[in-house]
C-alpha cells in the first residue's frame, strides 16, 4: 500500500511539474486567456458572496460591476457577465475612468494599473456593501477584499475576512475554503 501510494505521489509530482511548465508557457503566450480566467473568477465571486438587502436601491435594481480605469480584461469580463445574475439581480458591467467617478456599485474591480490610486479608491468604497477585487499586494494592504493572483501557474485568490466584514458581505464557506486568507 505504502509503496503504491508512493508511486502515486511520484506520478502526481511529475504531472504537476509538467502542468506548471505548460501553464507558464500558456500564461506568457496567451494573455487574453488569462483575462478570461480572471473574468470567470470575478463572476464566481458574485456567486459565493452574499450581499445585504440594503445594497440594492430597489428589488429589481441591477447588480453593478464597476471597473476603474483601463479594462484589463479587454472585454472578457463583459462577456462573462452578459445575461448573468447575482444575488437575484441582473449583472451590469460599468467602466469608470477614475475613482471619484464611481457611482453606486456592488463589485468594484481595481486593476493593477490603478495601484497608485488604490488608497483613494478603497476609501471611497469603504463602509459600503461593495466587494472590492484587486490584483496587487498593495490593494490588499490598502484594505481590499479579494486579490486575484497566479500561484504555481494556477489562478488563486486572497481573501480578507476583515474587509468582507467591514463591507457587511458574507463569503461562502466554500469560497473561504479555496481562498488564501489574508490578514494584516
Amino acid at each position: 500500500m505504502s509503496c503504491r501510494r508512493r508511486t502515486t505521489w511520484c506520478r502526481t509530482a511529475v504531472t504537476i511539474t509538467a502542468l506548471m511548465l505548460a501553464l507558464g508557457r500558456w500564461c506568457r503566450s496567451d494573455e487574453p486567456s488569462l483575462a478570461r480566467v480572471e473574468a470567470a473568477f470575478v463572476y464566481n465571486f458574485t456567486q459565493f458572496v452574499e450581499w445585504p438587502a440594503d445594497a440594492f436601491a430597489t428589488k429589481d435594481a441591477p447588480f453593478v460591476v464597476a471597473i476603474v480605469g483601463e479594462d484589463p480584461f479587454a472585454g472578457a469580463l463583459d462577456q462573462a457577465m452578459a445575461g448573468k445574475q447575482a444575488n437575484g439581480h441582473p449583472i451590469v458591467v460599468k467602466h469608470f475612468a477614475s475613482a471619484d467617478r464611481i457611482e453606486s456599485c456592488q463589485l468594484l474591480f481595481v486593476p493593477a494599473a490603478q495601484d497608485a490610486a488604490v488608497g483613494a479608491i478603497l476609501a471611497n468604497a469603504a463602509n459600503r456593501p461593495i466587494l472590492t477585487v484587486g490584483q496587487t499586494d498593495a490593494f490588499m494592504r490598502g484594505g481590499g477584499a479579494i486579490r486575484l493572483l497566479v500561484e504555481d501557474g494556477h489562478m488563486r485568490f486572497q481573501l480578507s475576512p476583515d474587509a468582507m466584514d467591514a463591507a457587511k458581505l458574507k463569503a461562502s464557506a466554500k469560497l473561504m475554503k479555496l481562498a488564501r486568507i489574508y490578514r494584516k
Binding site: N44, F48, M155, S172, L175, L178
Partner: protein
C-alpha cells in the same frame, strides 16, 4: 414414491414436502423482497455519497480547483464499498478522481445521465448533477462494489438453508410422533385384517381408538366380521343339520309313500270288493228275477224269489248309499240338520229292525237305559239312526255267539246335553293295530274279513264322521276274542223344559218285535195321494190300503189342493214332479193357506239337496222313489199317530184350524207321552188286528198287476202318438212313470228299458238313440201285454236278462222307417 411403502413414510413425506415447500416459497419471497430493498438502499447510499461529493465540489468546479475536488473525493475513503469516484466540470472534463484500490475505467459523462444509476456485473454506478444557483456546472460519479449485496445474498442462502433444514427436522420429528395417531389404528386394523384373511379367524375384533373416520372404519370392519361369523355359524349349523334334515325328510317321504301306496292299495282293494259286493247281490237279483219270469213257478215260489230280490236290492241300496255318504264326506259336503228327535225311540226302532237278524244268529239283543233319558233332543234323527243301525248291525255281524247289548245314557251339561250310546258285543274283537286302521276309508280290520262278513268297510268311517258332525265322537274299546264296545255320543242341545224319562225299558217303547215286517203295520186314517203316474197311484194305494188306510188320489197339485179344500185328511203324500202344479208349488201354497198337517214328499231324486228342497217347500218328511214299502208304511204310521194325538178329529183345510205343526209342539207331545200309560205310546201303529195270509196278499198283488198289464196297450198308443208328435217332454214323463211302475209291479225289464230310454232323452242323445229306446220299450210292452203277468218273461231268454228279444227287434225294424221323432 415407490420407496414409500408404508403409510407412515407416506405421511412423513407429505408433511416434509408440504413444510419444505411452504418454507422455500416463504424464504424466496422474503429473499426477493429483501434483495430489492437492499439494492434500493445501496443505490440510495451511493447516491447520497454522490450528492455529498456534488455539494462539496461546487466551488472546486467553479474555480477549477482540482486539489480541492480531489480532497473532497478523498473523504470517500471512509466508505469501504466505494471503489471509484470522480467529478466532471461543465464541459465534461474530469476535474478529480478517486480509486479505492486499483484504478478502474471511468465512463465518459455522456454514458451515464446525471441523476441515473446502473448496476453492472461488478459495480453499482451512480451519477449526480452539480448545481450552482440553479445552473448545472458539472456532475459527480460514484461507483460502489457489490460485495455487500453478494455477502447479503450469501448470508441469506445460509440462513434460509438452515431455517428450512431445521424446520424440516422439527416437522419430521413432530410428524413422526403425530403420525402415530393415524398409523397406529390403521396398522392395528391392517394386522387384524391380515390375521382374519390368513388364519380365517373371524372371532378377532379390531379395537377402536377414537371416534373419527378410523373409529368408524373399525366399527364397520367389526360389523362385517360379525356378519361373516354369523353366516359362518349358520352355514355350519345348516351343514350339521342337513343330514338330519335329509334323514327326517326321507323318513317322512317314505312314510308318505307307504301311506300313499297303502291308500292306493286300499282303494284298489275297495274297488275289487265293491265290484264283488255289487256283483253278488246283482247275481242273486238277476238270477231270481229270471226264476220269477219262469211261468212254471207257483205264487209262493215267486214270493220267495221276490223276497230274495228285495233283500239283495236293499243290500245294494245300502252299499250305494254308503258310497254316496263316503263320497260326500270325502268331498266335505256332508251336512246334518238339527231336528227334534226322541233318542230312546230311535234306539228301540233300530233294535226292533235288527232283531230278526239277531234272532237268526241266536244272539240276545237287549237295550238298557241308564238314568234319565230326555224325551227329545235336537239332532239329525236320520243320521243318528244311521249310526246306530250301522254300529248295531256291525256288532251282530261280527258276533258268533253271546249277546249284543245297547246302553243309553244322557247327561245335562247345562248349556247342552250329551246322549251316549254304548254298543257292546261278545264278538271276535279287534286288535289295537286294526283299531287304528278301522276309521280310515276303504279299510276293514282285515281284508280277509270282507270275504267272510261282507260289508263295504265304509260304515265305521261314515259313523265316526257323522258322530263328529253331530257334535260327539265315536270310540271303541276291544279285546280280540272277548268282544268290542263302541261308544258314541252326540250333542243334544239344551234340555230346559224337556222331560227326562226315568226307568225306561225297551218294552215300554217296543213297536213289536215283528214290526220290522211291513205287513204287520196297520194304518188308520184318511190319506190324500197326490200323484200323476197312474201306476204309482195304484202301487201306493195298494200298499196303504192293504195296511188299512183310506186313500184318495189326486192327479196333480192343483187337484190335490181342491180336494183338501173339500174334505179332511190326516196326511198328504205328495209327488214332487207333476204336470199343472208340481209338488213344491202345491206344498208351498198349502202351507201359505195355513195347512198344518203332515205332507210327505215323494221324489225320484236321491241326492241330498232334494231333502232340503222339499223341507224348504214345507214338506214334513221325505221319501224317495222307488218307495220302500216298509219305510213308507212306517213313516206314514208315525205321522198318523202324531196327527191323531194332536188332532183327534181331522178337519178339512177350509176349516182353517190354528196352525199347530206337530214338529213345532214338542211340549204337547211330551205332555201326552208323560200322561199316557206305558205301552200305549205306539197308538197309531198298532198291531194289525187280522194278520193277512199270503194268499190274500198274493190275490191283491195279482189284481194290481193285472190292472197294470191291462193299461199297457193304452200306454203304447200314447207312446206312439207322442213319438209321432215329437213331444219329448211328455214322452219322457210317460216313460218315467213306466219306469217306476214297472219295478213296482214286478216287471223289472220294462223298468230298466224305460230307464234307458229316459236316460237317452235326458242326455239329449241323438234321434236314433231315443227312437231305438222308445221302439224297444214299445216292443217290450207289447210282448208283455200279450200275456198275463205271470207269463211276462215267457218268450224272453231269462239267462242274461238282456232285452234282445226277436219281437222287439222286429217291431223296431218295422217302426223305424216311419218315425219322425
Amino acid at each position: 414414491m415407490f420407496l414409500l411403502k408404508t403409510l407412515k413414510s407416506k405421511l412423513l413425506a407429505m408433511s416434509l414436502i408440504s413444510t419444505g415447500a411452504a418454507l422455500v416459497v416463504a424464504c424466496l419471497v422474503l429473499a426477493g423482497y429483501d434483495y430489492r430493498a437492499f439494492r434500493a438502499e445501496m443505490v440510495t447510499r451511493a447516491q447520497v455519497f454522490a450528492h455529498i461529493v456534488a455539494g462539496n465540489s461546487t466551488a472546486a468546479i467553479s474555480f477549477g480547483d482540482e486539489n480541492d475536488a480531489a480532497q473532497t473525493l478523498a473523504s470517500l475513503r471512509f466508505e469501504p464499498h466505494v471503489v471509484a469516484a470522480c467529478v466532471y466540470d461543465r464541459s465534461g472534463k474530469r476535474l478529480a478522481q478517486y480509486f479505492r484500490g486499483e484504478s478502474v475505467p471511468l465512463p465518459a459523462p455522456a454514458e451515464l445521465a446525471p441523476g441515473a444509476y446502473r448496476f453492472g456485473a461488478a459495480r453499482l454506478e451512480v451519477s449526480c448533477p452539480i448545481h450552482l444557483n440553479g445552473q448545472m456546472i458539472g456532475s459527480a460519479y460514484v461507483a460502489s462494489d457489490l460485495d455487500a449485496l453478494h455477502a447479503r445474498t450469501h448470508g441469506y442462502a445460509i440462513v434460509f438453508g438452515s431455517v428450512v433444514l431445521g424446520a424440516m427436522v422439527v416437522a419430521l420429528l413432530l410428524a413422526a410422533r403425530l403420525a402415530r395417531f393415524v398409523t397406529g389404528p390403521v396398522g392395528h386394523l391392517s394386522r387384524t385384517a391380515t390375521d382374519v384373511s390368513i388364519n380365517r379367524n373371524y372371532a378377532v375384533r379390531a379395537e377402536k381408538a377414537a371416534n373419527d373416520e378410523l373409529g368408524n372404519l373399525v366399527d364397520c370392519f367389526n360389523g362385517m366380521l360379525d356378519q361373516i361369523q354369523e353366516r359362518d355359524r349358520q352355514l355350519t349349523v345348516h351343514r350339521d343339520h342337513l343330514e338330519e334334515l335329509v334323514a327326517a325328510r326321507t323318513i317322512e317321504l317314505s312314510k308318505a309313500r307307504d301311506k300313499a301306496e297303502e291308500a292306493s292299495r286300499a282303494k284298489s282293494n275297495f274297488l275289487a270288493n265293491m265290484s264283488h259286493e255289487i256283483r253278488t247281490p246283482m247275481t242273486a237279483i238277476l238270477g231270481y228275477a229270471d226264476v220269477l219270469l219262469s211261468p212254471t213257478q207257483t205264487m209262493s215260489d215267486r214270493i220267495n224269489s221276490l223276497q230274495v230280490i228285495r233283500r239283495n236290492a236293499r243290500h245294494l241300496m245300502d252299499l250305494i248309499n254308503d258310497i254316496l255318504d263316503i263320497s260326500k264326506i270325502e268331498a266335505g259336503q256332508m251336512t246334518v240338520e238339527s231336528l227334534s228327535c226322541d233318542p230312546a225311540r230311535a234306539v228301540v226302532e233300530v233294535v226292533s229292525m235288527l232283531r230278526p237278524r239277531a234272532i237268526a244268529k241266536e244272539l240276545s239283543l237287549t237295550v238298557e237305559f241308564v238314568g234319565g233319558i230326555p224325551a227329545e233332543i235336537k239332532t239329525d234323527p236320520l243320521r243318528l239312526r244311521q249310526v246306530l243301525m250301522n254300529l248295531t248291525s256291525n256288532a251282530i255281524k261280527f258276533t258268533e255267539r253271546g249277546e249284543v247289548r245297547l246302553k243309553v245314557s244322557a247327561e245335562d251339561l247345562g248349556s247342552g246335553s250329551r246322549v251316549r250310546f254304548d254298543i257292546m258285543d261278545t264278538g271276535i274283537g279287534i286288535t289295537a293295530k286294526q283299531t287304528e286302521r278301522l276309521f280310515q276309508p276303504f279299510v276293514q280290520a282285515d281284508e280277509s274279513m270282507t270275504r267272510k262278513y261282507g260289508g263295504t268297510g265304509l260304515g265305521l268311517v261314515i259313523s265316526k264322521r257323522l258322530a263328529g258332525q253331530l257334535g260327539g265322537d265315536l270310540t271303541l274299546r276291544s279285546e280280540p276274542g272277548r268282544g268290542t264296545t263302541f261308544s258314541f255320543w252326540v250333542q243334544g242341545g239344551p234340555l230346559q223344559g224337556v222331560l227326562m224319562r226315568q226307568g225306561l225299558s225297551e218294552s215300554m217303547l217296543a213297536i213289536g218285535s215283528h214290526q220290522s215286517d211291513a205287513d204287520q203295520i196297520a194304518l188308520e186314517g184318511r190319506i190324500l195321494l197326490v200323484e200323476d203316474g197312474i201306476d204309482n197311484q195304484h202301487l201306493l194305494t195298494m200298499h196303504l190300503e192293504t195296511a188299512g188306510a183310506k186313500v184318495i188320489v189326486a192327479a196333480n197339485g192343483r187337484l190335490g189342493i181342491e180336494r183338501l179344500r173339500a174334505e179332511p185328511f190326516d196326511l198328504v203324500l205328495m209327488d214332487m214332479q207333476m204336470p199343472v202344479l208340481d209338488g213344491y208349488g202345491a206344498t208351498s201354497e198349502l202351507r201359505r193357506l195355513g195347512y198344518t198337517l203332515p205332507i210327505i214328499a215323494l221324489t225320484a231324486h236321491a241326492m241330498c239337496g232334494d231333502r232340503t228342497k222339499c223341507i224348504d217347500a214345507g214338506c214334513t218328511d221325505y221319501l224317495t222313489k222307488p218307495v220302500d214299502k216298509e219305510l213308507l208304511l212306517r213313516t206314514v204310521a208315525s205321522y198318523l199317530s202324531k196327527a191323531e194325538s194332536n188332532k183327534p178329529v181331522p178337519t178339512a183345510l177350509s176349516a182353517r184350524l190354528p196352525a199347530v205343526a206337530p214338529v213345532a209342539a214338542p211340549g204337547g207331545a211330551t205332555a201326552r207321552d208323560a200322561a199316557a200309560p206305558p205301552g200305549s205310546s205306539g197308538v197309531a201303529v198298532r198291531r194289525a188286528v187280522l194278520p193277512r195270509d199270503k194268499d190274500a196278499m198274493a190275490e191283491a198283488m195279482r189284481k194290481a198287476v193285472e190292472g197294470f198289464v191291462s193299461r199297457l196297450p193304452a200306454k203304447v198308443d200314447a207312446l206312439l202318438q207322442l213319438r209321432q208328435a215329437g213331444d219329448l217332454e211328455e214322452l219322457r214323463r210317460l216313460i218315467h212313470q213306466l219306469k217306476g211302475a214297472g219295478a213296482g209291479f214286478g216287471f223289472p225289464r220294462i223298468s230298466e228299458t224305460a230307464a234307458r230310454a229316459e236316460a237317452a232323452i235326458k242326455a239329449a242323445a241323438g234321434v236314433e238313440a231315443v227312437c231305438a229306446g222308445v221302439e224297444e220299450l214299445i216292443g217290450l210292452i207289447r210282448s208283455t201285454a200279450g200275456y198275463d203277468a205271470g207269463q211276462e218273461g215267457h218268450d224272453v231268454p231269462a239267462a242274461d236278462g238282456k232285452p234282445g228279444t226277436p219281437g222287439p227287434q222286429k217291431q223296431k225294424e218295422a217302426a223305424c222307417p216311419t218315425r219322425n221323432c
